[in-house]
C-alpha cells in the first residue's frame, strides 16, 4: 500500500492536508513548518513548486509563488527541501505545481527524482487526464500517485474519466474559480461530492476556498480529506508565523475529529 493509500485506510478519519509554497516566505520556514504540521495532526503535506504563471491560483498563492521565485526557488531546490523533509517526517509529501516546470525538467527525470527524495505524489492543476498519458507512464514506473482534479463543472463523463485515472485520491475543487480563502463555500458542495461518490470508491479530498474550521467541519461530513492552502499562506505572512500557522492547523484538526 502506498503511503497515501494508508492515510485513507484509517476508518472514520478525515485527512487534513495543508498546502504551502516551498520557499515562502523562505526555505527555512518550509523546513520548520512541515514537521510542525505533521506533529499537529496533518496527514499529507502539499508542497507547491512555484511557477511564474500560476493560472489556477488566486492572489495569495500567486504572491507566494512570485516571492519564492524571486528568492531563486527552482524545482531542483524543491527536491533538496523535500529530501530534507523526508528525513524529518513520515507522512506523505505531494508536489503541487504546473506542467511546464515538470516538462522542462524531463517527465522521467522528474518522477525518478521524486521517488529518490521520498515524494509520494503529484498534483498538476493544468494537466487534465487527456494530456497526462506521458506523465502517467513515469509516475507509474516510479510508484508515484498522480492526483487528478474534478470541479463542480465536470460532466458525468469527465467524472468517470478522472475517477478512472486519478491515483492516491481525487482532488475535488469546491467551486468554479481559483484558489483563495472564501467566506462561504458553495451550497452545492455536498451534492457535488455525492455525485462523484456514486462513481468511485477512491478517496475524495476537497480544496479551494476552505479557510475556517467551520468550513473544514462541513467538508469533513462528506469528504475523506480537507485541503487548506491560501489561509495558511496568509498566516505565514506575519510575525510569529509558525506559531500562528500551527495553532490554526490544530484548530482544523480539532474541527475534523
Amino acid at each position: 500500500m502506498s503511503r497515501i493509500a494508508s492515510v485513507f485506510a484509517r476508518a472514520s478519519h478525515t485527512a487534513l492536508i495543508p498546502y504551502i509554497t516551498v520557499g515562502y516566505p523562505n526555505v527555512e520556514t518550509t523546513l520548520k513548518a512541515v514537521p510542525l504540521f505533521a506533529s499537529n495532526g496533518c496527514d499529507i503535506i502539499e508542497l507547491g513548486i512555484p511557477f511564474s504563471d500560476p493560472l489556477a491560483d488566486g492572489a495569495t498563492i500567486q504572491r507566494a509563488s512570485y516571492e519564492a521565485l524571486r528568492q531563486g526557488v527552482t524545482p531542483k531546490a524543491c527536491f533538496e527541501v523535500a529530501q530534507e523533509l523526508r528525513r524529518r517526517v513520515e507522512i506523505p509529501l505531494v508536489f503541487m505545481t504546473y506542467y511546464n516546470p515538470v516538462l522542462k525538467f524531463g517527465l522521467e527525470q522528474f518522477c525518478s527524482k521524486c521517488a529518490e527524495v521520498g515524494i509520494d505524489g503529484l498534483i498538476i492543476p493544468d494537466l487534465p487526464p487527456e494530456e497526462g498519458q506521458e506523465l502517467e507512464k513515469s509516475t507509474r514506473r516510479h510508484g508515484l500517485d498522480l492526483i487528478y482534479l474534478l470541479s463542480p463543472a465536470s460532466t458525468e463523463e469527465r467524472i468517470k474519466l478522472v475517477a478512472g485515472k486519478s491515483s492516491g485520491f481525487i482532488y475535488l475543487v469546491s467551486l468554479t474559480g481559483v484558489t483563495g480563502a472564501r467566506d462561504k463555500l458553495p451550497q452545492e458542495l455536498e451534492g457535488f461530492v455525492a455525485r462523484v461518490r456514486k462513481r468511485t470508491e477512491k478517496p475524495l479530498c476537497v480544496g479551494f476556498g476552505v479557510s475556517t474550521p467551520e468550513q473544514a467541519r462541513r467538508v469533513a461530513r462528506v469528504a475523506d480529506g480537507v485541503i487548506v492552502g491560501s489561509r495558511i499562506i496568509q498566516l505565514l505572512d506575519g510575525d510569529k508565523l509558525l506559531e500562528n500557522a500551527c495553532s490554526f492547523v490544530k484548530c482544523l484538526r480539532e474541527a475534523l475529529s
Binding site: S52, Q62, K104, S151, R158, T176
Partner: protein, 400 residues
C-alpha cells in the same frame, strides 16, 4: 508533409504541438466551445453574417497593393502589401473579434472577456461587443495600461471595462493569466474572446479560420493582378494570428514560401527579445504546447519588443509545427531595424505601418534586393501605425 487540412487532430494537436493544458473547470467549457464552433462552421447563415459584416462593417476586402516606390528602392523583387491596416479599428484583429463575437452571441453568452497587450485586440473586442450589444471586460497589464493610455480610453468610450493586471511581469502574458482566472470563475455566463492563434484547442484553429480570410483574398488578388502566386509571403509573428491568417490558404501551394518575422528586441543575444520560435524551446504556456521563452527551470521569461503586439513569450502551436516541418522559416528583426523600416514605408509609400508589421517590412526589404525583378513578395501589413505614435516619437528622440 501531410495535407494540412487534417490538422489539428481531434485532440487539437498539430503533431506534437497544441492540446489542452487547462484546469479541469475549463475542460467541459472547451468541449462546449468546440461543439458550438463545429456547428457554426457548418452553418452557412453564420458565414453569411460574418461575410456581410466583414464587408459592410469592417471594410473587407482589403486591397493588395503593389508598393512600387518601395520595390524600386529595394531594387529587386516586386513587393505587394496586403492592406489589413485599412480595416475598421486599424488592424487585422477585427476579423477574429467579429467571428468569435458572433459565435458568443450564438452560444448565448452575454459577458465577453478578453486580454490585450498593446490594446489592438482589446479595442477590436470592445468594438464588436458594442456593435453586438454584449458586455465586455478587457484585462491589460498595468505596464501596458500606462504605455497605451489612449487605447485604454478608446475601450472605455466603447463601453468596455478595462481591468489593469498587477501580477507577474504586468504585461500581456499576465493579462492572459488573469483572463483565464476570470473565465474559470465565471464559466457559466462568460465567453473568453482570445485574440491570437494561441491557447487551448479549439482557439488556435478557430482564430486561424477567422483570420484566413486574409490569405483567401490575397490568393485571388495576386492571381488577378499577376496571374501567378507569390514566391514569398512575409508576416510578423507575436502569437501569430496575422501570419497564420495569410499563410494558411497557401499551405498546399508548396512553391509559395512562408517567412515569419519575430521581434529580436534589443538583440537575441541580450535576452531582451520576444523571439519564441527563433530562440525558444518547447514548453506549455496558456494551455498549449508550443515554443516558449523559458529559463532552465521552466519559468516563463519576460520579453521585450518596441512593438507591444509582438511582446509575448509564446507562439501559436501551428507555427511551431510549421517550424518543425520546415513549411515556414522564422527569423527575427530587432527594434532598430523595425524603426528604420517603419520610416522607409512612410517615406516611400505614404503608409504609416504599425510597429509589428514594420518588422516584416524590414525583412522583406532586405530580401527583395537580392531577388530578381520577376519575383513576388507579399507582406501582410497587419495594422496601422496611429497607435504607435507615442512610442515612435520617443524612439526618434523627437520633441513635439
Amino acid at each position: 508533409m501531410k495535407k494540412d487540412k487534417q490538422l489539428p487532430d481531434s485532440h487539437g494537436y498539430f503533431e506534437q504541438f497544441g492540446g489542452r493544458f487547462v484546469p479541469e473547470t475549463l475542460m467541459p467549457v472547451l468541449d462546449e466551445l468546440e461543439a458550438a464552433y463545429a456547428e457554426a462552421k457548418r452553418d452557412s447563415s453564420f458565414w453569411a453574417e460574418f461575410d456581410s459584416l466583414s464587408c459592410n462593417y469592417s471594410g473587407r476586402p482589403t486591397p493588395l497593393y503593389f508598393a512600387e516606390r518601395l520595390t524600386r528602392h529595394c531594387g529587386g523583387a516586386q513587393i505587394f502589401l496586403k492592406r489589413e491596416d485599412l480595416l475598421h479599428t486599424g488592424a487585422h484583429k477585427i476579423n477574429n473579434a467579429l467571428g468569435q463575437g458572433l459565435l458568443a452571441r450564438r452560444m448565448k453568452k452575454q459577458r465577453i472577456i478578453a486580454e490585450t497587450g498593446a490594446g489592438q485586440h482589446g479595442v477590436a473586442t470592445a468594438t464588436i461587443c458594442a456593435k453586438l450589444g454584449l458586455d465586455c471586460v478587457v484585462y491589460m497589464g498595468e505596464e501596458d495600461v500606462q504605455r497605451q493610455a489612449l487605447n485604454v480610453f478608446r475601450m472605455k468610450l466603447l463601453n468596455a471595462e478595462v481591468r489593469p493586471v498587477s501580477s507577474g511581469t504586468r504585461t500581456l502574458k499576465d493579462a492572459i493569466n488573469e483572463a483565464i482566472r476570470d473565465w474559470v470563475t465565471n464559466v457559466e455566463n462568460t465567453y473568453y474572446l482570445l485574440g491570437s492563434v494561441v491557447g487551448p484547442h479549439p482557439y488556435p484553429v478557430m482564430v486561424r479560420d477567422f483570420q484566413s480570410i486574409i490569405g483567401k483574398e490575397t490568393r485571388e488578388q495576386i492571381l488577378a493582378q499577376c496571374s501567378r502566386l507569390p514566391d514569398y509571403i512575409i508576416a510578423c509573428v507575436g502569437g501569430g494570428s496575422n501570419a497564420m491568417g495569410i499563410f494558411h490558404p497557401f499551405v498546399n501551394d508548396k512553391k509559395v514560401k512562408f517567412i515569419g518575422v519575430e521581434a529580436a528586441g534589443k538583440g537575441i543575444r541580450t535576452g531582451k527579445h520576444a523571439a519564441s520560435l527563433v530562440a525558444g524551446t518547447v514548453g506549455v504556456l496558456h494551455g498549449t504546447k508550443s515554443y516558449v521563452l523559458q529559463d532552465d527551470a521552466g519559468q516563463i521569461l519576460g520579453t521585450h519588443s518596441i512593438s507591444a503586439g509582438l511582446d509575448y513569450p509564446g507562439v501559436g502551436p501551428e507555427h511551431s509545427y510549421y517550424k518543425k516541418t520546415g513549411r515556414a522559416t522564422y527569423v527575427a528583426v530587432d527594434d532598430k531595424e523595425a524603426m528604420k523600416a517603419f520610416q522607409l514605408l512612410c517615406q516611400t509609400e505614404g503608409i504609416i505601418p504599425a510597429l509589428e508589421p514594420a518588422h516584416a517590412i524590414s525583412y522583406a526589404a532586405k530580401m527583395a534586393g537580392s531577388m530578381n525583378k520577376e519575383q513576388i513578395i507579399v507582406v501582410n501589413l497587419s495594422g496601422h501605425g496611429d497607435k504607435d505614435m507615442d512610442i515612435v516619437v520617443k524612439a526618434l528622440g523627437v520633441k513635439l
